[in-house]
Symmetry: C2
Subunit: 249 residues, 2 copies
């Protein structure tokens, strides 16, 4: 594979709970002259998925616990911290009211993915989908009558060592998120040792370049990518805590 086309969707308005996201996106791409084709990868922003799944809520409806108030201190809104704690399986690191969390799915990210940016209003927050792999699978099934596409639900996470966010795959359907190159030969005929590539995260980063960070483009089409099929889901791309050199002690 030596050529790839990446196109952002246009003209999808504000999304609401219950919207048929798959149909909205497929119709929008068709309207801009890009009907979905077999082999396309459709990369969809997490916030778009969360919004149609009703994962946005009013901070006013959240009653903070004593622990949330304690962590928030004077630095942050205890209602927001309460949501972060509810969405977390564990706290991996803490600096004041800033929490790096393991979500119930196993992803590790700031604030367990709870976000006040790009919500529908300033006093609202968006949570990650309950099961992003299941969300990806449903979108793929819904689109199947039109084309056999792979789905990657993307988010932007920070990470250790390097500034800024890059794209990560939160939910995946129809492609193998991690491809093992062990046993393949490099250009000198040498056997590659245990090389694994997180293709789904690379797709997510590609999509984030086009999605931008300021909303308005909820999905990106990648055409021309050669990828391995699979239904493992994004959670198989996570390192178990006990095997992680940066968590196991």
């Amino acid at each position: 594979m030596s050529s790839l086309r990446v196109e952002g969707v246009q003209g999808v308005g504000e999304l609401r709970p219950g919207d048929d996201l798959a149909t909205l996106l497929a119709d929008a791409f068709a309207a801009q002259g890009l009907p979905l084709q077999d082999g396309d990868v459709l990369s969809i922003a997490q916030k778009a998925v969360s919004k149609v799944e009703g994962r946005e809520l009013e901070l006013a409806d959240v009653e903070p616990s004593a622990r949330a108030r304690e962590i928030a201190g004077s630095e942050d809104d205890p209602r927001f911290i309460e949501l972060v704690l509810r969405e977390s399986a564990s706290i991996v690191r803490r600096r004041g009211a800033f929490l790096v969390c393991e979500t119930h799915h196993g992803h590790i990210c700031a604030s367990a993915g709870v976000d006040r940016s790009n919500a529908s209003g300033p006093e609202r927050a968006i949570l990650l989908p309950v099961d992003p792999d299941a969300s990806a699978h449903r979108l793929r099934v819904k689109l199947a009558p039109r084309a056999d596409v792979a789905i990657v639900i993307t988010d932007s996470f920070g990470r250790p060592f390097r500034r800024g966010t890059t794209g990560v795959a939160l939910g995946v359907a129809g492609l193998a998120p991690v491809v093992r190159l062990a046993g393949t030969l490099d250009s000198a005929g040498r056997r590659l040792e245990n090389t694994e590539v997180h293709v789904a995260d690379a797709i997510a980063s590609t999509a984030e370049l086009v999605l931008g960070q300021v909303g308005g483009v909820p999905a990106v089409l990648l055409r021309g990518l050669v990828f391995a099929g699979g239904e493992e889901g994004a959670v198989t791309g996570l390192i178990p805590a006990e095997r992680d050199l940066f968590r196991a002690r």
Copy 2:
């Protein structure tokens, strides 16, 4: 920006020390109908840069230290470990003979970036460029008479929490590697809080999708990307150890 084209270069043969990489790549893209244009981003594989800079060597020429022999044990080649130690400013994590290192540039990666894959022969190893930002700058200057292009020298690194490698920017010229979105407004008019995006790493991951891991495609052209100019270099995209939640204790 809602559309991006990503094209791998074709027909560049095996690279040798002293080769004029900038000219080879520009000529090859021109030959495939893609002469470089102002605003293009040229993403170049680290190994291609290292090879033309003479950073490949014979393991037979390396005399391992006592410490390299001790770490290698029966798990790995002490000559390889010796190179890893020489290329490291510090060891961040160790599991047997597997070392996660901070390079002298400040990047954190397995084996300090020393690699036996895609070397010119099985008893050879490739080191990272001595100064990848300077390498990127030289390539950009060399190409300036043809077009005003940004350069991203890419590698594949593993990371905590998530399996597999993704692309990272080792050297950058002509674009700001990290873009701060703080103060910009999201689609709901809410001020984004301290959001930084590592655009150069996202570019590197995009390139890696096309570069593949088995050699043969040393560079990728990205056309259509809107990016901020800058000469900060990739090292400005690193988190200082004392501010890193995963290194400071």
